[in-house]
């Protein structure tokens, strides 16, 4: 806590390549990324199936295991627990040891967690496809897997907490986010999967389910994502974050306001109205906190703006940040009861979810992969052009999908409130749903390009020393 202690913590650290190998388990990071990308593809296929179903072009109907309803749940779960969780865990195996200069608690434990988590994700997928989903949105994991997943999360926390606990002196902001995220993820998962199932029913369960949907994004994905941004942006720009003091506001603001908003997912339900007001107020409050974080990152970028053109990972990161700001700004508006009347239950919300999950966090993780894969393998990218294609296909398609679904939501809301026949609302959605299929296909092909690029890179020759996509080597 005191400044003098700092000096001692910088004294330790690796001296040789062997030390470096002990610090970061590169192979494991790469394994996590391969697993993550596999689930990303599976998830996107699920999304595609549902999108085709909506425009009534699904030729695979009548096959129980290919039911669009089940694949819709697989779509979200594979993204949350397959893609995001795996990519985060892999990246944390890189970032935490390097931030603390200490390896994780135990290498064998790391591999055990890797294996256990893949079992959790695969059995979730199988359980959902067999029709055993649990009625908790974003947590449809069949009830019998929940305790295993929770145990996995506990082990993750223990494994990563060891190096953080060992580090001395005031911690860098990334580590605050990581520490808090380990606690929050565990608590959130336990709360959301057990309380509405075993403790309470009805409206109370709804309040908890809302809190779960919200906390899963806000207390698992968001802190890990921002923690990684606070780490990768400075090291790629080769300059410190603009203000470490301001990041304090961001962290504590998120910690305080974010979890208070759960009920805003169920406005106008029988949940007591004063609780709904409370959730709305804190949602608007968190928007100001988000603004401080965005200011901080753009303050960091100031003076090196060209990096956005020359440095591909930086471009991924800042695209994600702009979209994050858009998401949160949209959130502050759509959470009001005025907007809710019209847009609740519509595709507006679906667009919002895609923007935050793909546009922000997935894009950040894909940017991190773009930076790390050459460093992990010691091989420069097979093709920088393909990396560019990956970026442009992903970034444009998510923006198109977001705008498209937002508009679709407005039309659906108007159709319902003007008491048209139900058919009218699905008919009026058709053009938007068709555009969405094409946006999704573009997004999907972007990921295929990425995977092809990885394949060619891995099968290519070693081009050490690989430094990632730095301007100098581009």
């Amino acid at each position: 806590m005191n400044a003098p202690e700092m000096e001692s913590s910088s004294a330790i650290g690796p001296e040789s390549a062997a030390d470096l190998e002990r610090l970061v388990e590169r192979k494991l990071v790469l394994w996590y990324y391969f697993a993550a990308l596999t689930y990303l593809i599976v998830s996107m296929l699920g999304g595609l199936l549902m999108a085709l179903q909506l425009i009534q072009c699904n030729e695979l109907q009548g096959i129980e295991l290919l039911s669009p309803g089940r694949w819709r749940m697989l779509h979200t779960n594979a993204i949350a627990y397959g893609f995001l969780a795996n990519a985060f865990l892999g990246t944390l195996h890189w970032a935490i040891p390097r931030l603390t200069m200490r390896p994780v608690l135990s290498k064998p434990l790391s591999y055990l967690i890797f294996a256990a988590w893949q079992i959790v994700v695969v059995s979730t997928a199988v359980g959902i496809l067999l029709g055993q989903a649990q009625a908790v949105e974003w947590g449809e994991t069949p009830v019998w897997i929940d305790p295993v997943a929770l145990l996995g999360l506990l082990l993750v926390a223990v494994n990563f907490m060891a190096p953080i606990a060992g580090a001395k002196g005031p911690m860098y902001v990334s580590l605050w986010y990581f520490m808090a995220a380990f606690v929050w993820t565990f608590l959130t998962y336990a709360m959301g999967n057990f309380i509405p199932q075993y403790v309470v029913c009805g409206t109370n369960a709804g309040a908890i389910a809302g809190l779960f949907i919200h906390d899963l994004v806000g207390l698992f994905v968001t802190p890990l994502g921002w923690g990684l941004m606070y780490y990768f942006v400075p090291i790629l720009l080769k300059k410190p974050i603009w203000s470490h003091g301001l990041s304090l506001v961001g962290f504590w603001g998120l910690a305080f306001f974010y979890p208070l908003q759960g009920i805003h997912h169920f406005l106008y339900t029988p949940i007591p109205m004063f609780l709904q007001y409370g959730a709305v107020i804190s949602t608007i409050a968190v928007e100001f906190v988000v603004a401080t974080v965005i200011v901080n990152f753009f303050g960091t970028l100031y003076g090196s703006g060209r990096a956005v053109v020359t440095n591909l990972p930086i471009r991924w990161f800042y695209t994600g940040m702009i979209l994050y700001f858009v998401t949160c700004f949209q959130c502050a508006l759509q959470v009001t009861l005025t907007f809710q009347q019209l847009i609740h239950f519509t595709d507006w919300v679906v667009g919002h979810a895609h923007l935050v999950m793909f546009g922000v966090f997935s894009q950040w993780l894909l940017g991190i992969m773009t930076y790390l894969i050459p460093r992990l393998t010691g091989k420069e990218w097979y093709s920088r052009t393909l990396c560019e294609w990956h970026y442009w296909l992903s970034a444009t398609s998510i923006v198109v999908m977001f705008l498209d679904l937002t508009m679709a939501g407005l039309f659906q809301g108007w159709s319902w409130s003007s008491m048209q026949y139900w058919d009218h609302s699905t008919q009026v959605s058709q053009p938007f749903w068709i555009v969405r299929v094409f946006a999704g296909l573009a997004m999907f092909s972007g990921q295929i390009v990425f995977i092809y690029n990885i394949y060619r890179t891995l099968s290519g020759p070693r081009t050490a020393p690989a430094t990632g996509l730095q301007p100098a080597t581009a």
Binding site: P170, P234, G278, I281
Partner: protein
Amino acid sequence: MPAPNRRKNRVWTVVTVLFFLGPAMFGFGTKFYELVQVFRGDASGAFAVTPIVNYLLAGCGFLLLFGWAAKNGMFRDIEQPKFLMLENENRLDAVERSAAPHA
């Protein structure tokens, strides 16, 4: 950081804070007063006012904690970890570069 620069920064901070917080506090205060007026004497109205009061109390507590922490010298060198992080990273990269087989 040289002293005049620091003073300039401090002035700017105060001006910015006043610029944003002043109108915001005024707006919030008047609106909240209006709300209290609307719900006066209404039993269910207390429910509408309660969460806001709770948030205000929690916010005040947090502000006090913040002041206490600052007074105890917690933010004297708040920017240090960000430099240390970059230093660490540079050292790790240097080790990696020296260890890597030459291309």
